[in-house]
């Protein structure tokens, strides 16, 4: 698949409230292209609830329901049931939430919906922070990163949501990234074609949250994958397949780039480089990623 094969139809309308360089709208455009107009989206409190713009107008040309922060998957379950009772089983129901709404406050509703076998796609756009409320740490924030609630750098490592999802043994789940539109598109199309609960997580580097210049959003996504800080994979009926560069890293065909190549461009890691390089903490980040890949290799290769 090449970029020219992606549909021209747009359901994201220019002139929204999103910051310039926003990864969420890059992802949304591609998600809409993959799922088409016959989709209903449920959005909890997160940046997207702002991006959609102010009443009585919206920048989304897809029916969207706003719901409380913790309730994305519960709301989507209700929408799915309602549509099913009306016989509208061809409509794709999507829950679209941030990492705060997924890893932390929404995990109970999400786990419940997966366990109940709800026929929907849960999408988490992971910008590794609570960005809407001004950059607080979440369970997805990486070790060492500055946020307004981790001013000296986060002291814990992030959770592996992908593997928590795997423990639910749902028909399809995947990790992708805004820098790989074909990968994102293919995974969404596959999720749409499968019945039952699906989970897709999209790495979404956020310029104001990570403190990098707004033209570098895509570059930061590419480097997240090339340094191995983020892996592209999909899980179908419990069988995991790594994709693209992540597959080559898993199989040892290419080396991961050093983590410095990624974090040095992000102001949230500035204290690890200035005034003096904090080699200890940078090494801890590197070792944690290496350990993750060793586990991936021993479990999934």
């Amino acid at each position: 698949m090449a970029l020219k094969d992606l549909p021209t139809k747009e359901c994201y309308i220019p002139g929204s409230a999103a910051c310039p360089g926003c990864p969420a709208t890059i992802a949304l455009r591609i998600v809409y292209k993959a799922l088409g107009k016959n989709t209903v989206k449920v959005v909890p409190a997160c940046c997207t609830a702002v991006i959609e713009s102010l009443h009585p107008h919206t920048s989304f040309d897809i029916p969207t329901m706003n719901i409380a922060f913790e309730a994305a998957a519960a709301g989507a379950s209700g929408v799915e049931a309602g549509l099913r009772m009306q016989g509208k089983t061809d409509t794709t129901v999507v829950a679209w939430a941030g990492d705060g709404g997924t890893y932390d406050i929404g995990i109970q509703a999400l786990s419940g919906a997966l366990e109940r076998n709800t026929n929907f796609i849960y999408i988490c756009y992971n910008n590794e922070i609570y960005s809407n409320t001004g950059i607080q740490r979440s369970g997805a924030t990486p070790y060492g990163a500055w946020t307004t609630t981790t001013v000296l750098g986060k002291t814990e490592f992030r959770k592996e949501m992908g593997e928590i999802i795997m423990a639910h043994h749902i028909p399809y789940s995947a990790q992708t990234c805004i820098a790989y539109p074909e990968d994102l598109f293919k995974k969404l199309r596959k999720a749409k074609s499968i019945n039952g609960p699906k989970y897709i997580e999209i790495m979404a580097p956020c310029p104001p949250g990570w403190r990098f210049p707004m033209e570098k959003t895509v570059e930061m996504g590419t480097m997240a994958v090339e340094t191995g800080a983020w892996a592209l994979y999909e899980v179908e009926k419990d069988k995991i397949t790594f994709n693209g560069k992540s597959k080559l890293i898993l199989e040892g065909k290419i080396d991961r780039k050093p983590i410095d190549d990624w974090i040095i461009y992000q102001g949230r890691f500035r204290h690890l480089f200035r005034p003096k390089k904090d080699t200890k903490r940078i090494k801890e980040i590197e070792e944690h990623i290496e350990k993750m890949w060793e586990r991936y290799r021993s479990c999934y290769l």
């Binding site: 970029l3 020219k4 992606l6 021209t8 747009e10 994201y12 309308i13 220019p14 002139g15 929204s16 409230a17 999103a18 310039p20 360089g21 926003c22 990864p23 709208t25 890059i26 455009r29 591609i30 959609e52 713009s53 102010l54 009443h55 009585p56 107008h57 919206t58 920048s59 989304f60 040309d61 539109p181 210049p213 707004m214 033209e215 570098k216 959003t217 895509v218 570059e219």
Partner: protein, 90 residues
């Protein structure tokens, strides 16, 4: 557009729901059509959907809403898009 008679607040799709976001710009992307190889990277990565994809896969920029993030210039592999400070060329 179909309007719904529901007892809740409901918003309807509109271009420029937050106004003409083109005036947020500090830098303006300038496209050199001679250099463009129609790879469509700028089109797919533009967060604002303001790179217009034409039928022949050439592109244009919608300056009314382009927020000037510079991603299009950054992802173009042949440097067909350059950023220029707003108002530099009168």
């Amino acid at each position: 557009m179909k309007k719904y008679n529901v007892v809740t607040s409901i918003s309807y799709p509109k271009k420029g729901a937050m106004g003409k976001t083109g005036n947020w710009r500090v830098f303006k992307p300038i496209l050199d059509k001679e250099k463009c190889v129609k790879c469509l990277r700028c089109w797919i990565f533009c967060p604002e959907a303001t790179i217009i994809r034409n039928k022949d896969n050439t592109v244009d920029i919608d300056y009314e809403y382009c927020k000037g993030c510079g991603i299009c210039a950054n992802v173009c592999k042949v440097n067909a898009i350059e950023l220029e400070r707003e108002g530099a060329r009168k």
